[in-house]
């Protein structure tokens, strides 16, 4: 496998979705290519940094408006 192959496979590789033979090919390449090794490590870390990350605050006024809307519309029991 060459560098292009690793780039195309990196996502499936870090998700554990590659077939065993492909995993072997990727890992053989990673042993010899520091650029691709760094690419894989950094892509994995990128996914880790974003997972379940709270990048957006929900302002209290937005929550209050939601509560008010729901109270108005569903405060009464459903039919």
């Amino acid at each position: 496998m060459n560098c292009d192959g690793v780039v195309r496979s990196v996502s499936s590789y870090i998700d554990g979705e590659l077939e065993a033979t492909m995993v072997q090919e990727v890992e053989l390449h990673l042993k010899e290519c520091r650029e691709c090794y760094v690419l894989v490590q950094q892509t994995r870390l990128t996914v880790h940094l974003y997972y379940d990350s709270d990048l957006v605050d929900c302002p209290q006024e937005v929550r209050s408006r939601l509560q008010e809307t729901l109270r108005r519309k569903i405060g009464k029991p459903r039919n």
Binding site: L39, T46, R78
Partner: protein, 231 residues
């Protein structure tokens, strides 16, 4: 408070009090399971809400509204649209509760409803989206040209708020089609199949967009981290 003013009926005595003490699910791989949403009591609340207990539904709303707003903002990047999408998502979830078969977690079901609401608004604002699913060209600079490790833990180099600002500014630069798939798969933790069904594209397209999104984000983060090191 909304809690006190809702009509409460048919609530089981002590249900909410006991729910407050329910432990979080344990997992050997907490990275892949949203820690704040995987509570054992969720099915009890859903069952109570299905039977018409509005206070149980209210508890679900209070538990997830911040996360659902985060999702709708991440997709639409427009606060008004995000708020509307969130409100409509909770309304739809409530009115369709009887259709929820509990084959997935309630939160996952809710995420899919909210993502649909957000996507409808995004598409309304951007009706002529060009397809981004052409084969990946690797002739560009996806492969690191300057090898520089981020170190064992770049999170430790930044304050939490600084890292948050970096992650937010970087993801905002992604084309919306990439961003939507990345948010559903890698922020919210939906499966490839769930993401495909929610967005209305094939699983192959999800994988393709996810690959591109991850590569672009890595590239942008790398530039940012390196620039910060120089300063």
């Amino acid at each position: 408070m909304y809690c006190a003013t809702l009509t409460i009926r048919s609530i089981q005595p002590g249900l909410l009090a006991s729910l407050g003490r329910a432990p979080f699910l344990s997992t050997t791989n907490p990275h892949r399971l949203p820690s704040t949403v995987a509570r054992e009591d969720e099915h009890l609340l859903v069952a109570a809400a299905k039977s018409g207990d509005t206070s149980a539904f209210e508890e679900l709303v209070n538990r997830y509204d911040r996360k659902i707003f985060r999702l709708t903002m991440n997709i639409t990047r427009n606060r008004e649209d995000a708020e509307d999408a969130m409100q409509d998502a909770f309304m739809k979830a409530y009115s369709h509760l009887d259709r929820f078969q509990e084959e997935s977690r309630f939160y996952t079901w809710l995420v899919r409803i909210a993502a649909n609401e957000a996507l409808m608004r995004l598409r309304k604002r951007r009706p002529n989206q060009v397809s981004l699913d052409e084969p990946l060209e690797t002739g560009d600079d996806f492969i690191p040209q300057q090898i520089e490790d981020w170190g064992p833990n770049p999170e430790q180099r930044y304050a939490q708020t600084e890292m948050r600002d970096i992650l937010r500014s970087v993801i905002e630069e992604l084309p919306p089609d990439f961003r939507v798939v990345f948010v559903l798969r890698d922020v919210e933790g939906l499966s490839t199949e769930e993401t495909a069904e929610t967005v209305g594209i094939s699983e192959a397209a999800v994988k393709s967009r996810l690959l591109r999104a991850r590569l672009k984000l890595r590239q942008k983060l790398d530039r940012q981290f390196r620039q910060d090191r120089k300063n």
